[in-house]
Structure formats: structure tokens, C-alpha cells
């Protein structure tokens, strides 16, 4: 699974928009697949990893570039 992750562009949408967009894509993803969420909503930066941990997936990385957070996650089950 070294392919570039599928990017979900949720910039400029507010809570819980980015989370819901990610969840919709996670449902369709394969186990082991990585997804990258782009968000400008600061609340989602905390909320998305919280959800990922709660439901048992993995946060691969979470970094800000020019005001946009790139949250990379891996589907584990």
C-alpha cells in the first residue's frame, strides 16, 4: 500500500463536515488503505483523530501546511 492516498478535500467546510466526508469515504475504502483529509476547520484537527481512535483505525500523520491540515489515516478493519 505505497500508493498515494486518496485525497478528500473538505477545505472551507465547517464541523462536522470534514469528519462526515471522511467517514463516508472510510466506509468504501479497503482495509489497509490510506486516506488523506484536507481541512481548514480547526475543530476537526482534534475531532478527526478522536473519532479514528474511538472506532479503531490509525492516524498516520497530522500536519499543517499553509493553513490547511493534512490528516492521513489508515483503515484497519
Amino acid at each position: 500500500m505505497s500508493d498515494e492516498p486518496k485525497v478528500i478535500d473538505a477545505r472551507n467546510t465547517f464541523c462536522p463536515g470534514p469528519l462526515m466526508e471522511l467517514i463516508a469515504q472510510m466506509k468504501q475504502a479497503e482495509v489497509g488503505e490510506e486516506l488523506e483529509l484536507l481541512s481548514t476547520d480547526k475543530g476537526s484537527v482534534e475531532d478527526v483523530p478522536e473519532w479514528i481512535n474511538k472506532v479503531g483505525h490509525e492516524v498516520v500523520s497530522n500536519e499543517e501546511k499553509d493553513g490547511v491540515w493534512h490528516i492521513r489515516v489508515r483503515k484497519l478493519k
Partner: protein, 129 residues
């Protein structure tokens, strides 16, 4: 730990419907067992063909209308689709309005009475908006 949350939507204002929809969608997507019961003015927005916008209660409601906030109906639908939340119309409110199940949005479950709602909600949390 997943929990059982019963949300009661009464108010028809944008802020309250928005908050209820956010809670329903996030809780349901996180694995909680979510039931939403719509009565009073909150039910009006789920009658087919009624597309009026929910009035803002104050500043936040007006701001949300201008910014890119996901609409509450979309969030309730996502709660049902992604998190298996059950959305119930109040049978009393339907009687007062004079609408049947087929006149409500498809996302709505069959009509539910208060007695049944309360017995289903027993032991879980009830949040009212």
C-alpha cells in the same frame, strides 16, 4: 464505549436543528445507537415539498447561513446512512399537521408515539433541542 442516545427535536430554529443534527451524525458515526424523535416545529422541515429555510434564532444562525456549514437535513441523513441512526416523526405532530408517512421525507421511519419512544429510550441518555 458505545452508548444509547435519544435526541428530541422540538424547536424549528436553525441553531437548535443544527446542533441536534451535529450530535446525531457524530454520535451515530462513532458507533453510538442514536434515535431522533421529531415533534412540534422541528417536524415541519421533513414534510415533502416544504423547502423553507429554518429561521435563525440569533447571530450564529445568520452566520451559519452565510458560511459553508453542512445543512442540518444533510447531517441527519448522514446520521441515518453512515451511522444507522433512526429518525422518527412524532405521531401526534403528524396528526395535528394532517400528514401521513408518505408525505414525509423518505429518511423518516414510521410514526412513533411518545409512550413507545420513552420505553425505547429507557436507560439511555435523552437530549432535547
Amino acid at each position: 464505549m458505545s452508548q444509547r442516545i435519544s435526541i428530541v427535536c422540538v424547536s424549528g430554529t436553525r441553531e437548535k436543528l443544527q446542533m441536534a443534527a451535529m450530535m446525531a451524525s457524530v454520535a451515530a458515526a462513532g458507533g453510538d445507537e442514536v434515535t431522533v424523535f421529531f415533534s412540534m416545529n422541528a417536524l415541519l422541515y421533513f414534510v415533502k415539498g416544504r423547502d423553507e429555510a429554518a429561521p435563525a434564532e440569533g447571530e450564529m444562525g445568520s452566520l451559519m447561513a452565510r458560511k459553508n456549514v453542512p445543512p442540518f437535513k444533510q447531517l441527519f441523513e448522514q446520521a441515518a446512512e453512515l451511522g444507522d441512526a433512526k429518525l422518527f416523526p412524532c405521531s401526534m405532530a403528524m396528526d395535528v399537521l394532517g400528514v401521513g408517512s408518505e408525505e414525509l421525507d423518505d429518511v423518516m421511519q414510521p410514526a412513533l408515539g411518545l409512550t413507545r419512544f420513552l420505553s425505547d429510550a429507557e436507560g439511555g441518555q435523552i437530549v432535547t433541542f
